[in-house]
């Protein structure tokens, strides 16, 4: 989904080089076979071309060796009506296609898009790769190196809202389809029997006197003073941070609300980047342009502890980048660009490269 993993492999490689060793290839933990995805939802890249795929229908997360290695491609990528081209490739029309997520392999700059091919209960999951040569390939999930971890399921189906990889852990947010409770799972990778997921309930405070469980819509791992934090955007629409180290089995996590995004800002996707020595995050939303928030001083950002009154935005201030209207999926392509999926007013979906604002 996001470029949240971009610096992780680089950091690993850097650390390995400094130590005079090369880090183990994580694809060695994967086994060849048929990856039995029931659906292909949220995506997040890890090291060594490993793509983590949330499978909401199957209640699982897959680690798939995309085999996508090499040097980062340079240049931009732009394909109009990419939905029609993907649909043609999988033998469908654009109206039979649901685009679920976009992720860029930070090692190569190639784009990966998870789709549902068909809209009924028997819709087939697929993941397509789009290279800088604009060639569209469908990953052969029946013959691929992969690993799978089943998420604990209380009986009802669960939606998976976001997947990310950070420092040896796969982070998965979700919610049930029969209750409003939110879960965030931290799953050590490589997946093993011993590496059971940690599942915690997330609460965001600052609703006056009360606090409720609420689903995380999208999130990114984000380093603050060397400590990994989760920046989570909620549907209803606070932006919340909490340290990753707070994710302990059986404990409830209380996030610190650092911004309120307000009406019309239903968050869809989020990336972080650096420009002119400063850190920013971008949040795509369903109605307005992209929201851009500077994160300088985020470690000191005071928590919003009183109810918001009169619709006044509280906490970190954001600006709206109106030129990015229609963006519903994005990932960081390189230091200066984001790769985005834009739904046009005519209903087409374009893949485009935009300069980070």
């Amino acid at each position: 989904m996001l470029s949240r993993t971009r610096f992780v492999p680089l950091a690993l490689v850097g650390a390995a080089l400094l130590a005079g060793t090369v880090h183990a290839d994580l694809t060695e933990s994967l086994k060849k076979g048929a990856a039995d995805l029931k659906s292909a939802g949220p995506l997040g890249f890890g090291p060594d071309g490993i793509l983590f795929v949330g499978d909401p229908s199957g209640g699982a997360v897959f680690a798939i060796d995309t085999g996508d290695r090499g040097n980062p491609a340079t240049g931009t990528l732009k394909i109009d009506k990419v939905d029609e081209l993907i649909a043609a490739k999988v033998g469908a029309t654009a109206k039979d296609l649901i685009i679920n997520d976009l992720a860029v392999n930070p090692a190569t700059g190639n784009a990966f898009i998870s789709i549902s091919r068909g809209k009924g209960p028997d819709a087939a999951p697929a993941i397509v790769k789009i290279g800088h040569d604009k060639k569209i390939d469908v990953l052969d999930l029946k013959d691929v190196k992969f690993a799978k971890t089943q998420l604990a399921n209380a009986g009802a189906k669960n939606a998976i809202t976001c997947v990310a990889y950070s420092k040896g852990k796969v982070l998965v947010s979700g919610m049930g389809n029969e209750s409003f409770a939110s879960t965030l799972r931290s799953i050590p990778f490589p997946f093993t029997e011993a590496n059971k997921p940690t599942s915690v309930e997330i609460f965001h405070g600052a609703h006056g006197k009360t606090e409720t469980g609420a689903p995380v819509r999208t999130f990114i791992p984000f380093d603050i003073n060397g400590q990994t934090n989760i920046l989570a955007a909620y549907q209803c629409t606070p932006l919340v941070k909490f340290p990753l180290s707070d994710l302990k089995p059986g404990e409830k996590v209380k996030g610190q609300t650092i911004a309120e995004l307000g009406n019309g800002n239903m968050p869809l996707d989020m990336i972080s980047y650096e420009k002119d020595g400063k850190q920013f995050i971008l949040i795509a939303n369903n109605k307005r342009g992209i929201m851009k928030l500077p994160t300088d001083g985020i470690e000191k950002a005071s928590s919003i502890t009183t109810p918001v009154k009169g619709g006044v935005a509280a906490g970190l201030k954001y600006e709206t980048i109106k030129e990015w209207t229609g963006v519903f999926q994005m990932d960081k392509l390189d230091k200066e660009h984001a790769l985005v999926l834009i739904r046009t007013t005519g209903g087409d979906v374009n893949l485009d490269t935009l300069l980070l604002p």
Partner: protein, 398 residues
């Protein structure tokens, strides 16, 4: 050698354009042919829907052998035999799949053909390892039929009551048949008493909340408008307000899983009542035990309406050995205020217990011993850590 004579396959629509053959086959419901064919006596391009494969029959042994051993790129295979959605537009990629030779040439699309979508296969004999001198293109168009009967649309909506708390959390929309996903929120709207559409009333998760068969859609009202102190609520106010009348409308353009809309809209009108702010309290429930030797349901009457989906998986019965009593059917009655559990085998005399999963919620998200809006970090209830509550009852001769 490809013969120039064209033959008909009985019962199939047919037209010839020189040797460039075009057959457009609309296989109607109930009379879909197993094979749909464009043929010459020695060369046939067809779709075999039993195998979900396009096939070329009649290739000579020399070509078959060469194809079997060919180490071709995908592009090379596609030049010989390709399938496209719609027409064979060169600017759109061919359908992904695998070519193989097994007595005949096959193309197996990676995904099964969709109903109602037109596909065009194109076979170019000039691309064969040993092309015939008079090679001509062959085309075959296939469209699998969609059901002729329109779908029935919405069956019912839970909760079924006409008055709902103003902090109502969700609706379950049940359909008669599997539906399509992806555009659900284009087909649902909430109207006020003047018929005016209410702005942003729903929690619109892109992945949508469906059951496995896509016959039940969970519609969450927007949480940001339910919680006091959130900016969204300050800007737009709550979705529902006590004393006011509302109508939930599901339009008839929502396509079913085959892409067909029912053309029948469904409306559920209800009045908002006071907020529900109490936890679910099993101590207030009344259990009516069944008679021994029957498969009558044990019936439980609740203190208020509970979540219909939760009632079907968060309550069950165990016997004195803690073994789960095999279920025949669960029923809910009286607007989800009563519940019945009918066993697969007749009740034996003795003690049983009703197991209550403490996640069981009412209509507003309050669960057993816990209200939805609560300071989670100050509550110190010893039962908080328990997953279930047990309520005993006795089955006896009466």
């Amino acid at each position: 050698m490809i013969a120039k004579r064209i033959t008909h396959e009985p019962g199939l629509a047919f037209s010839g354009l020189g040797l460039a053959l075009l057959i457009f086959i609309l296989a109607l419901a109930g009379c879909a042919p197993r094979t749909q064919t464009v043929s010459e006596p020695s060369l046939t391009l067809r779709f075999n829907d039993g195998n979900n494969a396009f096939e070329v029959l009649g290739l000579d042994a020399r070509n078959l052998e060469a194809l079997k051993n060919a180490d071709w790129t995908q592009e090379r295979w596609t030049a010989l035999l390709a399938v496209h959605v719609g027409t064979s537009e060169k600017d759109k990629p061919a359908v992904v799949g695998k070519h193989r030779v097994d007595g005949i040439l096959h193309f197996d699309p990676q995904f099964p053909l969709l109903k109602g979508v037109r596909y065009q296969a194109l076979f170019d004999p000039s691309q064969l390892p040993f092309p015939p001198a008079d090679a001509q293109l062959a085309q075959c168009t296939v469209m699998l039929p969609t059901p002729l009967d329109p779908p029935l649309g919405v069956a019912w909506i839970c909760p079924t009551a006409d008055t709902l708390p103003e902090n109502q959390m969700k609706f379950y929309i049940h359909f008669w048949a599997p539906m399509s996903r992806g555009d659900a929120f284009e087909h649902i709207r909430l109207l006020d008493s003047d018929g005016k559409r209410i702005e942003s009333p729903f929690y619109e998760l892109a992945g949508e909340h469906w059951d496995e068969r896509q016959q039940r859609f969970t519609l969450f009202l927007h949480p940001g408008r339910a919680k006091p102190g959130l900016k969204l609520r300050e800007e737009l106010g709550p979705v529902l307000e006590a004393g006011k009348q509302y109508t939930l409308v599901i339009d008839g353009n929502w396509p079913d899983a085959d892409g067909n809309p029912s053309k029948k809209s469904f409306r559920k009108s209800f009045k908002a009542g006071p907020p529900e702010l109490q936890p679910v309290d099993p101590k207030k429930w009344k259990i009516t035990a069944p008679r021994v030797g029957t498969t009558d349901p044990v019936q439980v009457t609740f203190e208020k309406p509970l979540d219909d989906a939760h009632l079907r998986r968060m309550l069950w019965i165990i016997d004195r050995t803690d073994k789960r009593v095999a279920l025949r059917i669960i029923s809910t009655f009286d607007h989800e205020t009563r519940w019945g559990y009918s066993p697969a085998e007749p009740w034996m005399a003795g003690e049983y217990r009703l197991v209550v999963d403490r996640s069981l919620e009412d209509l507003a998200g309050n669960s057993v011993g816990q209200v939805f809006e609560l300071d989670q970090f100050r509550v110190t209830v010893t039962e908080q850590n328990k997953n279930s509550t047990l309520l005993p009852f006795t089955v006896s001769q009466r």
